[in-house]
Symmetry: C2
DNA sequence: CTGGGAAACGAAAACGATTAATACCATAGA
DNA sequence: TCTATGGTATTAATCGTTTTCGTTTCCCAG
């Protein structure tokens, strides 16, 4: 392994000068610096990340917390897309992404411990139970952090405009003639309240009285629960003609329930998703849905995290960025019969 | 930050003893060791990963190379599932996963350089252009490495039984009455030859003469090219009655082409995918496909990589593990009309 | 020619851990 | 009583960088 010492030897200068030359720091003559850099390049010198991290307390590593209840955050397509956007920006700035776990040397540790252990420069939090005490601990430590769909006091965060998303969806359903519009929401946490707000806002503007029996809970990305919730709605004396699903993926459960009830989408029941997952563009009927700009969310999160890292220590107020959504008409909303 | 030195001070022993006690090494008395470990725990001591890595040349970090041509490996569902299986096993052993990129400190570097820079203990290679010179360079260095769907000389690898997968698919199509069975394969590299082998093996056993015009190339996961390839097949004077698609995702393109030709799946044309992506279970008609056991592949890869890390330096021959696939009947194969 | 100051360079101390070599000190055997 | 033995503990070197601070060199003004 080529080290500073080796370069120093070959150039007949001190290790200190080599370090300065390579990092373009003042304190070393221009031509000497050039000579040093040339031989460094010639020898294929690469700084040792561990040594640098040890000395500078900067690892250029970002921790990624991407888990859901089933510990399968990687399989959640929306968040993987977000992560991909995040990754691109971070990589441009020379950061590496680390999938955080809770095992270090075969012992289970907390997220915060992992952070300290690995000298992480920052943490990206998405698709997780935000009220996890370990996460709160992490957020209360002074680790630069950015989160999606949730704000931690004093940290940056990125959201889609959830209110507007559901609002637009309801408006569209109404425009197509629907009056009995139900909402199967995700668990009562995180973005759910915002989405519900959009739902009620639209109903109220349209002069439709909200019905308690038209709002039932499922879970995000939960096909089984959404299946059951849809059944419940269909069993009502006066069933809805249009159902807003928790998200695109969960809507598979809804569609299944509708099919199994002998009904068709959208002729008998209209449905609307949320997320705008790519593959839904290719299955027919194309899902009407509220598309989030996953890539943009990830990129924005990255920029915010870079900012937080930059200003580490200084007491910068956390900012929350809201990104627009786009309603996609699709083919699963038809006039009620 | 609490360090060994701090613990040593509090216990009135030397740093060396603390290190030994914490790592359960001989050379320190049982009761002293216990006392040291107790105060370490009390102080919330965590070893500094950078210092350890610097001293021991072991980072407990694994590099993950998950990219396709579009630099979007994370979005490839099959490989993300593989990665998830891989991750679970690795985490159990206390390893962290790092998404490898080619930017370090704003300068672009090669995979191998990144490896050295970050002291990676091993590398996981999947979903990538295996002939990339940088990858070859990496494989020729003595970095422990495991790959999916491709074998690098001297390294471990994991495959699905690709021959058998396509073989079974063709057999099933034949059993349902098909005789004109076409194959749209992925690019002529990697697993493609094995899959083609299965295709030809089945045809030959069934006494069906292979037709050159029934085998066309597309790309894996490429909806557009698969759309075009399907069109090409449908335009034949004697079009096939059943088409094997490069993979599940690409099959969307095939379905679209079939629809746009005014035909129906499976009444007019039968199709079969490859991969067994989860979400296809929920769209109707349910895709007939060859399911790979993604999780098992990832787990197996992890075990092999651990083995390679264990035996680093020793000249262990690379082993290649083949995992069984399962044909899923689905609903997209019907008797030809 | 000298004194002063800036620029170039080097020595050395960290960062936090691991580990070989060594010192210490009982106890046991001769 | 002296020496070997074995277990505990410490000393010190080291991993590869960064960074402070002191020293040297050199140039130019006085």
């Amino acid at each position: 392994m080529v080290t500073l010492k080796e370069i120093a030897r070959q150039c007949g200068v001190s290790v200190a000068s080599v370090s300065k030359a390579i990092n373009h720091m003042p304190g070393v003559g221009a031509q000497t610096a050039q000579r040093i850099r040339d031989t460094a390049r010639a020898l294929g010198y690469l700084p040792n990340a561990a040594a640098q991290a040890l000395k500078t307390n900067r690892s250029f590593n970002i921790g990624v917390l991407l888990e859901d209840d089933d510990n399968h955050g990687l399989l959640h397509q929306f968040f993987v897309s977000v992560l991909d956007g995040f990754r691109v920006v971070m990589e441009e700035q020379g950061y590496d992404l680390m999938l955080m776990n809770r095992t270090v040397g075969k012992r289970t540790i907390s997220y915060l411990e992992h952070c300290r252990h690995s000298n992480l420069d920052g943490v990206f939090v998405a698709c997780i139970d935000f009220s996890d005490p370990e996460l709160l601990e992490l957020a209360n430590a002074n680790v630069p952090l950015v989160s999606i769909d949730h704000t931690y006091e004093g940290h940056h965060s990125v959201y889609s405009d959830n209110v507007d998303g559901v609002y637009q969806a309801v408006l569209y359903a109404h425009e197509r003639g629907h009056r009995r519009i139900a909402y199967i929401s995700g668990a009562p946490a995180g973005v759910t309240s915002k989405r519900l707000e959009g739902y009620h806002k639209a109903l109220s503007e349209l002069g439709i009285a909200p019905r308690a029996d038209y709002h039932v809970y499922s879970r995000y990305r939960d096909i089984h629960r959404t299946y059951a919730a849809t059944q419940q709605l269909l069993a009502l004396k006066e069933p809805p003609t249009c159902i807003l699903m928790p998200d695109d993926y969960a809507s598979h459960g809804g569609q299944l329930a509708i099919q199994n009830a002998g009904l068709r989408v959208p002729q008998d029941i209209s449905i609307i998703g949320f997320d705008g997952l790519e593959y839904f563009k290719f299955i027919s009927p194309r899902l009407s849905t509220v598309a989030q700009n996953a890539t943009a969310i990830g990129e924005q999160a990255a920029r915010l995290l870079l900012l937080a890292i930059e200003n580490r220590g200084k007491d910068i107020p956390g900012q929350s960025v809201k990104l627009p959504v786009m309603f996609i008409k699709g083919e699963t909303v038809a006039p009620p019969n």
